[in-house]
């Protein structure tokens, strides 16, 4: 451990009760105040992108489901959208609606999961159990539609693999009605509680300017007042037919502080928004096919003829998720790059942790809803020499230049 003189260096992670996934945060602490913070991602790199480069898109789309344990549809939807653009595949309208419904159910369950984790970080375990118990409703609805709770595997290139049948509408509507009843209670428990108020207000403040400068995405950005929401900015799936407006903290209070409390407000009210979106989708569900091409062989044939590159975007519960895919007349893509939403948000940690109280670190760290398994990309471990190397920006830029040059030859 570190020296015993002031200021202390308190290591958090890679394994720590406050962290649900491995990341290393190093805090310089004087008394209870954090003087500076730094973090080292790259503790849970799994090489999924590399695995993808030896598989065809139909295989990868289910590999993407496993990038994140919570976003079961985020990555596969973003990846499928990228491939669909390259191969010029038109997704049937009904499939777009099913995709939207699943994506919004995912948002509900992800936000409730986050709310539970946030309550746990505050030492409020009763609220944690309650939030996760409430979350089961969304999990059941997802299970009803897709078959499984966590890995939905519902996205296929060119549509969805399972339809929402007439008899499923009733249980889904019941689930939504139940959430509508519970929403008032959740709002009261999270937003009116005196201790949560006193712990979260003013903690981890991120100003609008900084949020823009650090290119934050999703609820983290919206809590700071940025009206960034892919569903409204670049509508896809069924969002074009719906009137989605970004949720800002102003829905609950008059001013935008960009603190942890505002992030709770945004997430709680996004649950209400998702309920409305699903209801609208169910009411206006178009009839028709759910797959552009029923046969997988047909999809693969289309991929074989595809050439080009594309970016697939999806507004994940945590913000913009980006998949870059390049294909060159082969089943197997020549490049696949994932930028999960947390990747954009992690970088504000040193900023918002500075000057924070030691007690507030877990909730501030959790407030951006970090998903580290999604994020970790480049860490080079030399097992023989026993050292780990993380590439700097300059090195990565240089390597990128070299690769581009090689590709252009």
């Amino acid at each position: 451990m570190t020296a015993k003189k002031v200021p202390y260096i308190v290591p958090v992670g890679p394994i720590h009760p406050a962290l649900k996934e491995p990341v290393h945060i190093e805090l310089t602490v004087s008394g209870e105040e954090v003087i500076s913070a730094d973090f080292t991602p790259g503790q849970t790199h799994r090489g999924i992108e590399w695995m993808g480069l030896s598989r065809n898109p139909v295989q990868i789309v289910h590999l993407t489901d496993r990038i994140c344990g919570i976003c079961g549809v985020t990555h596969s939807l973003a990846f499928a959208r990228a491939v669909e653009q390259i191969a010029d595949i038109t997704v049937p309208e009904r499939a777009d609606y099913v995709r939207t419904i699943i994506a919004e159910f995912e948002r509900i369950q992800s936000h409730l999961l986050w709310a539970g984790v946030a309550a746990h970080e505050l030492g409020f375990d009763t609220l944690f159990y309650l939030a996760w118990r409430v979350r089961e409703g969304a999990m059941d609805a997802i299970e009803l539609i897709s078959g499984n709770r966590v890995n939905y595997d519902i996205i296929q290139i060119g549509g969805v693999r399972r339809d929402i049948t007439e008899d499923q509408f009733e249980p889904i509507r019941r689930c939504l009605a139940n959430y509508k009843d519970l929403f008032g209670k959740l709002k009261m428990l999270f937003l009116e509680d005196a201790v949560i108020n006193s712990r979260c207000k003013g903690a981890g403040r991120l100003s609008f300017e900084k949020a823009m400068a650090y290119s934050t995405v999703g609820p983290t950005a919206r809590a700071s007042g940025c009206t960034a929401d892919l569903r409204a900015d670049y509508p896809y799936a069924a969002y074009g037919d719906l009137n989605v407006k970004p949720v800002l903290p102003t829905v609950y209070s008059n001013d935008i502080n960009g603190d942890t409390y505002d992030r709770i407000v945004v997430r709680i009210f996004e649950i209400a928004q998702s309920i409305e979106i699903i209801e609208e989708c169910l009411a206006n569900m178009p009839v028709g096919r759910i797959l552009w091409e029923e046969k997988v062989a047909g999809i693969l044939a289309a991929c074989k003829k595809a050439k080009g590159e594309a970016v697939g975007l999806h507004e994940a519960p945590r913000g913009e998720c980006l998949h870059y895919v390049a294909m060159d007349l082969a089943e197997i893509p020549i490049a696949w790059k994932v930028k999960a939403s947390s990747y954009s948000n992690l970088h504000v940690w040193p900023l918002i942790l500075k000057g924070a109280q030691l007690a507030d670190i877990p909730i501030i760290v959790a407030s951006i809803d970090p998903c580290l398994s999604c994020t970790d990309r480049v860490v080079v471990t030399d097992a023989a020499a026993g050292r780990t190397k993380i590439f700097t920006k300059e090195e990565l830029t240089r390597l990128s230049y070299e690769k581009t040059r090689r590709l252009m030859q």
Partner: protein, 154 residues
Amino acid sequence: MAKLPMFREILGQSVKKPVTNLFPTIRMPKSITRFFRSVTEGKAEIVPPVATPPVFRGKIVYDRTACNGCGLCLKVCPTHAIEQVAYPPMTVTVTDEKGNVTEKLKTEKRIRIYIASCVFCGQCSDICTKGAVAMGNEFLLATEDRFAEEQIAE
């Protein structure tokens, strides 16, 4: 207590029934292994887990007699959990157009599925034209040996 809304919530909850599904037993048995042994022997009963939905994707059920070894499932398996196996050549009698009966050596192609590598996406059962692969209902698959007999479907 208006500022601590959880107070009313916990008082209400404390008189309600817990929501936990007491799987697999209500009380912790003295020995878990002995308990499961007596379950397999039919002497004890486990509290059933939460029911799976109709479209659930559990452990793969493979029907070798229906399979024709076409290998389409290999093409869609995201984790390469399926491999093609050639059974040792066996002698089959073939009758040609002229009615001559000859004996030939023929190799049977089938598949082998490693459940430990499977991610339960269900693509193989969707693509199978013969209906030889189906997603079952079983999900209690924890094991210490990933090459144990029940972890490989063939």
